[in-house]
């Protein structure tokens, strides 16, 4: 599928701020091992700024810019065109040591009592990929999708205890369960076309799911505990991946000045054929 993404982020302040420094992780995944191809990517910023880029440790493209003079609003518009190919299975890495990052705890992924109890029902299964699918199905079946009760900093332990949350939270729980059972798994940030990112189909487009390492041959398989379909498919656009949300926040930044910040985000994903 060829999909176009228009992702607008607007920060508004009630009094002037200055010396904004911002990092943006909105560039669709460009890694050669991915079936996805990024045909174009454009980033526009207001007030105007020179935009720089680098590739981070996990292969994600990071754009960054700064604005020195005082301003009350920053607008970031990312437009990309992506050919998602026929699925989301990504070839495995040659170096197994790189998996170390995806087998332990991380900032939002904790091996707490809740996860130990939750995973105790799975331990008899042999095939890791199958096991991950069971975990994915279990989360999808038993956790309740409910926006507003968690925030971007909620850990897997908090979500585990609540039994509810949003796509990011479910992904963190799935990562905790997989990793606790020694299945390498990573957090994916991206978009979902059509069906929407909420289970009832409301279109929020920005989405988060997991990739599970199923051995060198199968590589990384995209699994999504938020949706009944469970597996990532051609509707999924991947931006990047990391240990958890903290490695791939879409926008993060600092500024100087004393002001209240208001954030507005709108994402539109449309099919081009």
């Amino acid at each position: 599928m060829i999909l176009k993404v228009e992702h607008t982020t607007i920060f508004e302040y009630d009094s002037p701020i200055y010396e904004t420094a911002t990092e943006v992780r909105l560039h669709p995944d460009t890694s050669l091992s991915s079936p996805q191809r990024c045909a174009s990517f454009k980033l526009q910023v207001e007030p105007a700024a020179t935009i720089f880029d680098y590739t981070d440790f996990y292969g994600n493209v990071v754009n960054h810019f700064n604005i020195l003079q005082s301003h009350k609003k920053v607008k970031i518009l990312a437009t990309s065109v992506v050919d998602t190919g026929n699925g989301q299975s990504v070839a495995g890495d040659d170096e197994e040591i790189l998996l170390t990052d995806f087998t332990g705890e991380s900032r939002y992924v904790h091996f707490d009592q809740g996860i130990r109890e939750f995973t105790s029902m799975f331990t008899t299964l042999e095939d890791k990929c199958q096991l991950a699918e069971h975990i994915c199905r279990e989360i999808n079946g038993t956790f309740v999708y409910e926006p507003g009760i968690t925030d971007v900093h909620s850990t897997s332990a908090v979500v585990m205890a609540l039994g509810r949350g949003v796509c990011q939270d479910f992904a963190h729980v799935m990562l905790a369960a997989c990793r606790y059972l020694a299945i390498p798994a990573r957090y994916v940030s991206g978009y979902l076309y059509g069906g929407g990112s909420t289970p009832d189909g409301r279109d929020e487009a920005s989405h988060a799911w997991c990739e599970v390492y199923c051995g060198k041959e199968k590589g990384w398989i995209g699994m999504d505990p938020t949706h009944k379909t469970l597996f990532a498919d051609e509707r999924y656009i991947k931006i990047g991946s990391g240990r958890d949300y903290s490695d791939v926040p879409p926008v993060r930044g600092t500024y100087k000045g004393n002001a209240q910040e208001k954030l507005g985000v709108s994402v539109r994903v449309s099919a081009m054929e």
Binding site: E19, A21, E23, T55, I97
Partner: protein
């Protein structure tokens, strides 16, 4: 009148005495010093001590003691009797440090690039990737000249036989060099005659050598580079040193708020507008240096600095992420690291270290908690430490639980052995106080090691703690040519 050194007790013999042999005869290189001190009366010593105290106070040579009272500043105690290292002993130290620092730098380059040593399983990958000092943000970045550790200060001790051992490598922002410089100045003023009797290698050029090292790593094409020192500010315990070094080098002392990044370049705010900065000698820790990348709540850093650094538009000394190589667990791998990169046997030995993450070692540690010193891998300053011989059974049991729960985080070493050196524990009495040595190594185009370094001394009877915050002081340290 009682003469100095007449009643000096050089025992117990399990410690190495720097001045007297086991039989009690003076080591030859201390001969002239002892001869002179034996002629001094207590009034002579008091007069000289007074000169030095006034001198130190006037220059504001202080350090801040945390946790006592908000911002208590004390004069760092200076012991009048210098420590002497003969040239032939120093040469071993010099060669050993050169070897060690070269290997550690290659190690850092490797783990921030191809990670060959991890793939060859000489060092376990999970130790590196699991270290909180491993900077993923810095992987693949090429620091100028391929150098990561521009300024280091390894702590060196001597065992009962006088062998030099490395206790730890300080590869982040080692401090204390200003005391080394001040001690020399003070000693020369108080004892010009004794100093004149020895051929002491000079150390006064350290600030110029440091500045040269910093200039050498400037971005290409930046002639007459602008070098600044970045300090966390006046509340930092080493603020005196920061201002002292900046003044000695003739560079600007800056705080995070004085700098700003624009279009991936770093600038200093001046009354004439923004002025480009090329090299930053930073005395701010990694986690505080850039709120955009590391701790977002830090007010000590500069937003965007890491991206400017990654791009090569500014140089930092030391580089980011060097702490991964002075972790207490990684320390135990340094002999292997030296053999792996240089194909040589280590010249300086480590203190024997057991790793709790290694099952056989773990068993040994748990069975010998009463005689070992247990340390948490990522902590410093004595936090998370069990000193076996001084601990209660309850404390040992508590530690055993902590070690079993998180073996990666613990190491154990035999109870430390520090050599002893006659020092004044009060105005008139000489006692064999325990000492260590922190030599300073500079790494730019070449490696430069200042002869000697800072000798720290535990100025309490029997104490093995040389830290300034716990009653430690320091001595002038002479490397002499005979």
């Amino acid at each position: 009148m009682k003469r100095y050194f007449e009643t000096y007790d050089h025992g117990p013999l399990r410690f190495f005495d720097e001045v007297f042999s086991k039989e009690g005869t003076p080591r030859p290189h201390y001969g002239k010093l002892l001869q002179r001190f034996r002629q001094f009366s207590q009034e002579d010593i008091n007069a000289r001590r007074e000169i030095i105290n006034i001198d130190f106070r006037n220059q504001g040579i202080t350090f801040t003691v945390y946790g006592v009272d908000e911002g208590i500043e004390r004069i760092f105690p200076f012991d009048l009797i210098p420590r002497i290292l003969p040239a032939k002993e120093w040469e071993i130290l010099e060669k050993g440090l050169l070897q060690r620092i070269t290997a550690l730098n290659e190690f850092l380059f490797d783990i921030y690039h191809t990670q060959k040593i991890l793939k060859d399983r000489v060092v376990p990958a999970e130790l590196i990737l699991g270290s909180r000092h491993f900077a993923r943000e810095f992987v693949g970045v090429n620091p100028p000249l391929g150098v990561y550790i521009h300024v280091t200060g390894s702590d060196i001790i001597r065992d009962g036989e006088g062998n030099y051992l490395v206790l730890e490598d300080n590869l982040r922002t080692p401090s204390g060099v200003s005391y080394m410089l001040q001690n020399r100045q003070a000693l020369k003023r108080a004892f010009p005659a004794i100093f004149g009797k020895y051929k002491v290698r000079p150390i006064e050029n350290y600030p110029q050598e440091l500045l040269r090292t910093l200039q050498e790593i400037a971005p290409p094409g930046r002639f007459d580079p602008n070098v600044v020192l970045l300090t966390p500010g006046i509340y930092n315990s080493a603020y005196f040193e920061h201002s002292f070094l900046a003044r000695q080098m003739g560079i600007e002392l800056t705080e995070g708020k004085d700098l700003v990044v624009n279009n991936n370049k770093v600038y200093k705010r001046t009354t004439r507008g923004l002025e480009r900065v090329d090299v930053i000698y930073r005395r701010v820790d990694d986690s505080f240096i850039d709120p955009l990348v590391f701790r977002p709540d830090s007010r000590l850093g500069v937003a965007g600095l890491i991206n400017a650094y990654r791009k090569g538009n500014v140089a930092l000394a030391n580089a980011i992420g060097t702490g991964v190589a002075d972790d207490k667990v990684i320390y135990s791998f340094v002999p292997k690291i030296i053999r792996y990169y240089l194909g040589e046997d280590p010249i300086l030995q480590n203190v024997p270290t057991w790793l709790a993450s290694n099952p056989a070692d773990l068993k040994y540690i748990l069975e010998n908690l009463g005689s070992l010193v247990v340390k948490a891998a990522n902590e410093s300053g004595g936090y998370g430490m069990l000193v076996g011989p001084e601990s209660t059974l309850a404390e040992q049991e508590k530690f055993a639980e902590m070690i079993v729960a998180n073996p990666r985080n613990y190491i154990a070493q035999p109870t430390i052995s520090l050599s002893r050196h006659p020092s004044f524990i009060n105005d008139s009495e000489l006692y064999g106080c325990h000492i260590d040595l922190r030599p300073y190594v500079l790494y730019g185009k070449n490696v430069t090691i200042v002869p000697g370094g800072l000798t720290r001394v535990a100025l309490k009877r029997g104490s093995l703690v040389v830290n300034s915050s716990q009653g430690g002081g320091s001595k002038d340290t002479w490397v002499i040519d005979e």
